[in-house]
């Protein structure tokens, strides 16, 4: 047993391939047997992943889900930013330039709209919860943009650390909800073509959320949504500590 654990731990990435492979297999089985194919196998796999992460986080007290369980550390490599970005870029293979052109302008508009709308919603909820200083309101608003924009903004304008932690939590909620919610609402928001996928990516912005949500909806939409989503966090980091902060400061 000790030898087995040693082998598994020493070959983290390989273990991750095996574990994720089994998870995906179980998910497709569940999709076919329990939901008659109505819920896509990849959606179930992502939810199983999130559930495993919640369970692992509660057991270990760590912040990286199952990665904090020694034998599963390789999952962190497989699901880390490096592999995620490599995978996302590879999905662009086969994308039609003509479709990208079609959504060009409206795609850019959607990125601005997404950042501003999420910020306003987050800021209003901060006010509703009794925050009155511009720094806290801006930081929580920025957290509703993405969990990267929150702490970047909060650090830049000098928000307190508990407010920064809140902004990260808001961003993580957003990202997870997009992963789970997208396949459920796709039908109702017309998310079935490249153009609306680009608008979707621009509005949601959270790269992990968009990547997971579209993968669970229709993998062919992933490159279009990811294309706009990757500009969102950059724009948020640009606007959060500057123009959005100045506007909030002028208002309170």
């Amino acid at each position: 047993m000790e030898t087995l654990v040693a082998v598994i731990s020493a070959n983290g990435l390989i273990t991750a391939f095996a574990v994720v492979g089994i998870t995906v297999w179980i998910s497709y089985l569940m999709s076919a047997r329990l939901t008659a194919g109505r819920i896509h196998g990849s959606a179930i796999a992502i939810i199983l992943g999130l559930a495993a992460s919640y369970w692992a986080g509660s057991v270990t007290g760590g912040s990286r889900g199952v990665v904090d369980i020694g034998v599963l550390a390789g999952i962190g490599l497989m699901g880390g930013g490096m592999m995620r970005d490599f995978g996302i870029v590879s999905t662009a293979f086969g994308v039609h330039i003509s479709e990208l052109r079609k959504a060009g302008v409206v795609g850019v508009i959607s990125i601005f709209a997404g950042v501003i709308v999420s910020f306003i919603v987050g800021a209003l909820i901060a006010v509703a919860f009794g925050y009155r200083d511009a720094e806290s309101i801006t930081t929580i608003g920025a957290g509703a943009v993405t969990y990267i924009v929150g702490p970047v903004t909060g650090t830049a304008i000098g928000a307190s650390s508990d407010v920064i932690a809140l902004s990260v939590a808001a961003g993580v909620v957003k990202s997870i909800l997009v992963m789970i919610g997208t396949p459920l609402v796709a039908k109702y928001i017309g998310l079935n073509n490249p153009q609306s996928a680009m608008v979707f990516g621009g509005l949601m912005g959270t790269t992990s959320g968009v990547a997971g949500g579209l993968a669970a909806t229709d993998p062919r939409l992933v490159p279009y949504g990811a294309m706009t989503a990757t500009f969102y966090t950059g724009l948020g980091c640009l606007m959060g500590p500057s123009i959005l902060y100045f506007i909030v400061r002028a208002l309170v």
Binding site: V20, H40, G79, G87, I88, V121, I125, I189, G234
Partner: protein
């Protein structure tokens, strides 16, 4: 050679991330601005350029298609390494802020999608377990779009 396709993919990502970092520094932002998006554009351009044809057809294409088929498993691994506990424990404020931002953004998708030229809905997927592998069908596009 499979490695040619994989190397092209790697080169696109590295170039994109580098340009994204430079853009971030230029704008004074502590983030990579659109690096992955730029990398995707580079790959799309490369796969429709005559000069790169040996890198995006035949066995080389297999190298790229392998990674796009690995995309969903990678996302599953990513989901398993999220800080879900923090999201659940963030309290009502974090929950409400996250949920409200998502709901409002969802609602805006059909509103904004109405602008500009429309694209047709994709044909329905055949939901066999193998579908992730079919997400990139470059055979028709790689020659020149």
């Amino acid at each position: 050679m499979i490695i040619y396709g994989v190397a092209l993919l790697a080169a696109c990502l590295l170039t994109g991330l580098y340009v994204g970092e430079l853009l971030g520094q230029l704008l004074g932002v502590q983030a990579n601005v659109g690096g992955v998006g730029i990398a995707m554009l580079l790959l799309v351009l490369a796969s429709s350029t005559q000069r790169f044809e040996p890198l995006v057809t035949g066995a080389s294409a297999t190298g790229i298609n392998f990674w796009s088929a690995m995309y969903i498993p990678i996302i599953v691994a990513m989901a398993a390494s999220q800080n879900v506990v923090a999201a659940v424990d963030g309290g009502l404020l974090a929950l409400l802020a996250g949920v409200a931002a998502v709901v409002v953004s969802f609602a805006l998708v059909p509103v904004l999608s109405r602008f500009g030229p429309q694209s047709d809905p994709l044909p329905p997927l055949d939901s066999t377990p193998g579908t992730p592998g079919t997400l990139a069908t470059p055979s028709k596009t790689s020659g020149g779009v």
